[in-house]
Structures are given as C-alpha cells and as structure tokens.
C-alpha cells in the first residue's frame, strides 16, 4: 500500500513535469499557432543551465557554482526564454514551416553540445550531484516522493493559473487574434512578429523550467534524456488533451503518460528482457499511429477550444483546397 502511494506520487510528479512542458507548448501552438518541433532542446537548455548553476564546484568541467536551487530555476527560465526568443526572431517573419525546421535544428544542436562540449555539460557522462529539494528526506522514499509531488503541484498550479490569466488578458487576446486572422490583427496596429516572439519566449521559458525541475528531482542528467522522442511525447499529450486548452494540456499529459508508463510495464511483463528494446520501439509506433489517428478523426482532442484557422496565406489556402479536389 505504502509502495503504491509512493509509486503514485512518483508517477504524478513525472506526469506533471510533462504537463508543464505541454503548457509551454500550448502557449506557443495552442494559443499562438507557432509550431515547435524542437522542444526537447529547450527542456535540455533548462536542465543544463540549472544544473550548472546549482551543482557543487567540479574540477572536470566549467562551473558548478553551488547556487541555491531557486536561482537555478530562474536561470533556466531566463536562458530558455532567450534561446527561444532568438529562434523566433530568426524565423517568425517567414512562412510557418521555417519555424518547425529551425526548432528541429535547435534540438539537434543542443543535443550535440550536450554530447560534445564536455567542459560545459559533462559530455556523454552527464552531470550528477544536482541538489535535490528535500534531499534530506531521501532516506524515507515515501515522504521524499510526496514532498516532490507537492512542489511540482504548486509550480504547475502557478503556471496554469498564470497562463489562464495571460490567455484572457489583452496580451492573450492579441495572440489569439493573430492566430485566427493575422491581417485583421495587423490592421489594428499589432506587430505580429513582436507578439509572436514574446509568446515563443515565454513558452520556451516554461519548458526550460520543466527541464530544470526534472533535473533536480532525478539528481542526474545526460544527453539521452533529451532525444526527439521527448518532443514527440509532449506533442501527443497536447493533441490528445486538445490544443488551445490549458486544462487539456494538463489532463492530456497525465493521460498519455499513464498510457505510456502502462504500456511500458506491459511490455516488460510480456517480452523477454532481450526483446525489450524492440518492444519499446513498438510502443513508439503505437503512439505515432495514435497521434495521426487523433489528427484525422478528432483534431480538437478532448478539450480543444476551436476549429482553428492557422496562418495561411492565399497560396497555402489554395493548396489546401486543392487537396480536396485533387487526390
């Protein structure tokens, strides 16, 4: 029973960290219509920034500044936000696909830096000894897991409430207006690019914060934590929950993480240990097919708020209608 509660707390902590990333993505995609397929990169930036700021001094690599955990989290948000703003500035005046390609590139490069800049990131060995909040409680796993859960609950709640507030604020209304009808919004004197960069930066900062939280709960990070599969999982969470809805983002995360963890357990029971790597890839196939099916039959997910009209120029619209008459 105690074990079960402990596992439940651990499960929820992980799921809520995912939900934080999904909330960041929902601000970028659901509210603003910005397509980020490199979010693993921003999560990694947050994790590494916070780890560098808070770990004790290490002769093998740069830094280890031993700062308080909260400073690490703030630092993660700042660096993640700046990275996202730079990415946005480079691409947001162009067609929306360019943002997808660029963010994809950002994730590749962050992964490369994590793997190869040994002086900064510890290379393939990662960074250990990241201070854990309530590390003193590690002796009693149940208490430790529950206090972790409490922290992440509070952070997620704060993020959720602020995002709800933001999306109803004038700022959020401008974003939605840009998403729905860019030309109308611009004609009202709103700078599309300026607002989009802001939304992208705030979303990136939230993702980076999630990365930092994760790093501090596990106490160890390595480049393998931030592969494209992470990006993919979070996208499925948002689509299942329904893009545009913050509540959907949270519930979708818990639900998809439940399916993922559950199917993981199932494969480990059903398959022999030497077959498990293969079974894991089958798990990804299943989730990928699920994403495509949801896009086809229920594009609004569980809680989605819209039949949306994303940024389309005249030619893209023509191409879109072409698909129906064509093949």
């Amino acid at each position: 029973m105690i074990d079960l509660i402990g596992y439940g707390a651990f499960f929820l902590t992980t799921a809520l960290i995912f939900s934080l990333v999904t909330l960041g993505l929902n601000l970028q995609w659901g509210l603003t219509g910005l397509f980020n397929v490199g979010l693993a990169g921003f999560v990694a930036i947050g994790a590494y920034t916070s780890a560098l700021l808070t770990t004790p001094d290490d002769a093998a690599r740069l830094g280890g500044f031993g700062l308080p955990i909260l400073v690490g989290w703030l630092g993660a948000m700042v660096v993640g936000g700046i990275a996202a703003a730079l990415t946005g500035m480079a691409t947001l005046r162009l067609r929306s696909d360019y943002l997808a390609i660029t963010t994809f590139g950002v994730a590749v490069v962050v992964q490369l830096v994590a793997l190869n800049a040994q002086k900064l990131t510890g290379g393939p060995f990662g960074i250990g000894f990241i201070p854990r909040p309530f590390g003193g409680l590690a002796e009693t796993p149940l208490l430790f897991n529950l206090s972790n859960l409490a922290v992440i609950c509070v952070v997620t709640l704060i993020a959720y409430l602020s995002l709800e507030h933001l999306s109803r604020s004038p700022w959020g209304r401008v974003l939605k207006a840009l998403r729905e009808d860019e030309r109308a919004a611009i004609s009202l004197g709103k700078s599309a690019r300026f607002y989009r960069v802001q939304a992208f930066a705030v979303g990136g900062a939230i993702m980076a914060l999630a990365g930092a939280l994760q790093a501090h709960f596990t106490g160890f990070i390595a480049p393998d934590n931030y592969l494209p599969i992470l990006t993919f999982q979070v996208w499925v969470m948002l689509i299942v929950g329904g893009s545009g809805s913050n509540l959907g983002a949270v519930i979708g995360s818990v639900l998809v993480w439940g399916i993922w963890a559950g199917s993981g357990t199932l494969t480990s029971v059903l398959f022999a240990p030497e077959q498990q790597a293969r079974a894991a890839s089958l798990q990804i196939v299943a989730i990928g097919v699920m994403l495509c099916v949801i896009l086809l039959i229920r594009p609004n997910g569980l809680f989605g708020d819209r039949p949306r009209r994303p940024r389309l120029d005249k030619r893209a619209k023509a191409a879109a209608t072409k698909g129906s008459s064509g093949s």
């Binding site: 590139g105 989730i287 990928g288 086809l296």
Partner: protein, 302 residues
C-alpha cells in the same frame, strides 16, 4: 588541409541533394515540410537490402561487377526499392496527408508527418533492430587521382548515377508537360487549376519522384557508410537546409544546396572535428534565413 574533403563533400552532398529534391518538391507543390522524408530514405534502403538478400538466397552468391563492390542484384534491387518507396509515399499520402490537406490546415499536415516519421522509423527499428547492417563488407582500395585525393570505384559510380538522375529530373521538369504542370502548380495553384491542370496526377508524380530519389540517396548511404533505422532521420536537417539554401521549389537549387552543405560538412570535419558535423547544416540554415530567406534560386512569395 588535404583536398580529400572535396570528394567526401561531393559524395555527402549528392546524397543530401537527392533527398532535398523530394523535400523541395513536396514543399512547393503540396506546401508542407515533410518530416517523414528521411524515413522514406531509410525504408527504401531496407527494402533494397531485403531484395538483395532475396536475390542472394535464390541465385546464390553473385560476383560483383569488375571494380565495384556490388553486382547486378543491387541494381535490380535498387529499382525495386525505388518503386517500393514511391508506393510507400503514395500510400501515406492516401491514408494521411491528402485527408488532412483537405481540411485546409497546412501545419497540421506537418505535424502528422512528424508523427508518421516517428512511427515509420520505430517500425523499422522493431523489424530490423537498431544494429547497423551493410550491403557489402568488402573493402575497396581507393585509387589516387592526384592532388592527394583518393577515390574508390563505388564512389565514382555513385557520383555518375547522381549526375544522371539530376539531369533526368531536370529534363522532366523543364521539357515535359508533367514537369511544366508541376511548375505551374507550385507557382500559382489557383491559376494552374483554372487552366485545367490535373492536380491529382501532379501530386502523384511529386510523391513518386520524391520517394524514388530518397531511396537512391538512402542506398548510397548504405553502400558508402552503413544502414541504420535512423539514417534518414539524421539526414533531415541537412536536406531541409539544402532545400532552403537552394530556394524552395528549385531542383537545381536543391542539388547545389546539397553539394554546398556536403562540402561544408566535410570541410568542418577536417577543421573542427567530426563530432560537430551535424551543426554545420544548422549554421548554414540560420545564415540563409537571416541573410536571404528565399535562397539562391528562390522566387519571392507573393
């Protein structure tokens, strides 16, 4: 700095360029960035490998053609693989992309291609495991051709093959009715439809060309490097970068972009080390987006 990087760069560049042709065609005619294009590459290569093995099982060991490391089975298999990859692309369009396109949300199609990419790649991994395989384990002796450059017969053959294919696609695009329809559709879809261009057939040709060339690029990687489920996914960024550098919609641009990125990568390997190779295409991509977003041969979007 040895000039060897020129040969390596041209080879990598050919693979990137062949892949980028498909990317640029999908982007300009169907108007979305297809993240599954790299996985077409990997699927085509594994299909080719499967046919090679099947021929090997039927006819026994076949001697390779004189200086090359492969014989007629690979050539036959390549043709089958190209057809298979084209069919795969058509099938995916039928069940997924065309339906989403008809809903009129361009970026949703990109998202679906991202999901399809993950599923396709993992399915390969499930079937063939992530262990690398090879068409041939024979080692070829590289011939010196002067200036300190060495090249193997395989490499010469593949460069020739690339040149022939690129020329063929170029002629198809500029000299045939289908090619002109494709150009018309990419430049002005509405007008193209009004003048009675058969959109469905253009869409089909786009997928067939893109899929077949992706398969050739993948097989080249398989011959020169190795075959892995991730081989195409790793080529995605270079292919996008090449297509954007060349200017979306331009086939000569995609090839030239591929060659430039291939040469830059090979040069970077010599200068700063192989581990940073993948960053080269990102840096070129960002530079193009900042300086000349329409690329080398692009036309400004209206």
């Amino acid at each position: 700095m040895s000039l060897q990087f020129v040969v390596d760069g041209l080879l990598t560049g050919s693979m990137i360029g062949l892949g980028a042709i498909g990317v640029t065609l999908t982007y300009s005619i169907l108007r979305f960035s297809n993240f599954a294009h790299g996985d077409f590459m990997a699927w085509g290569t594994y299909a080719t490998l499967a046919v090679v093995s099947a021929i090997g099982a039927t006819f026994g060991k076949v001697a390779p053609i004189a200086p090359l490391s492969f014989g007629w089975p690979l050539l036959v298999a390549l043709v089958v693989g190209m057809a298979f990859t084209a069919l795969l692309a058509l099938l995916l369009d039928k069940v997924l992309f065309s339906r989403l396109r008809s809903q009129g949300q361009a970026i949703i199609v990109v998202m679906a291609s991202f999901g399809a990419s993950m599923a396709l790649r993992s399915l390969l991994e499930f079937t063939f495991t992530s262990r690398p395989t090879y068409f041939s384990r024979a080692i070829q002796i590289a011939m010196p051709v002067g200036f300190g450059i060495r090249i193997t017969p395989d490499q010469i053959a593949l460069l020739l093959l690339t040149a022939i294919l690129v020329l063929g696609v170029h002629l198809l695009m500029t000299r045939t009715q289908t090619g002109r329809s494709m150009q018309a559709l990419s430049q002005n879809p509405a007008l193209a439809r009004i003048v009675g261009i058969d959109v469905a057939s253009v869409v089909r040709v786009t997928w067939i060309i893109g899929g077949a060339l992706a398969c050739v690029a993948g097989v080249m990687i398989g011959i020169l490097v190795q075959i892995r489920p991730f081989m195409g996914f790793d080529m995605l960024l270079p292919m996008f970068a090449a297509a954007i550098l060349g200017g979306i919609g331009s086939i000569p641009g995609a090839v030239l972009g591929g060659l430039i990125i291939g040469l830059a990568e090979a040069g970077a390997v010599q200068l700063i080390g192989a581990e940073w190779r993948a960053a080269v295409s990102f840096i070129i991509l960002m530079a193009v987006l900042f300086v000349r977003p329409i690329g080398l041969f692009g036309v400004r979007e209206r």
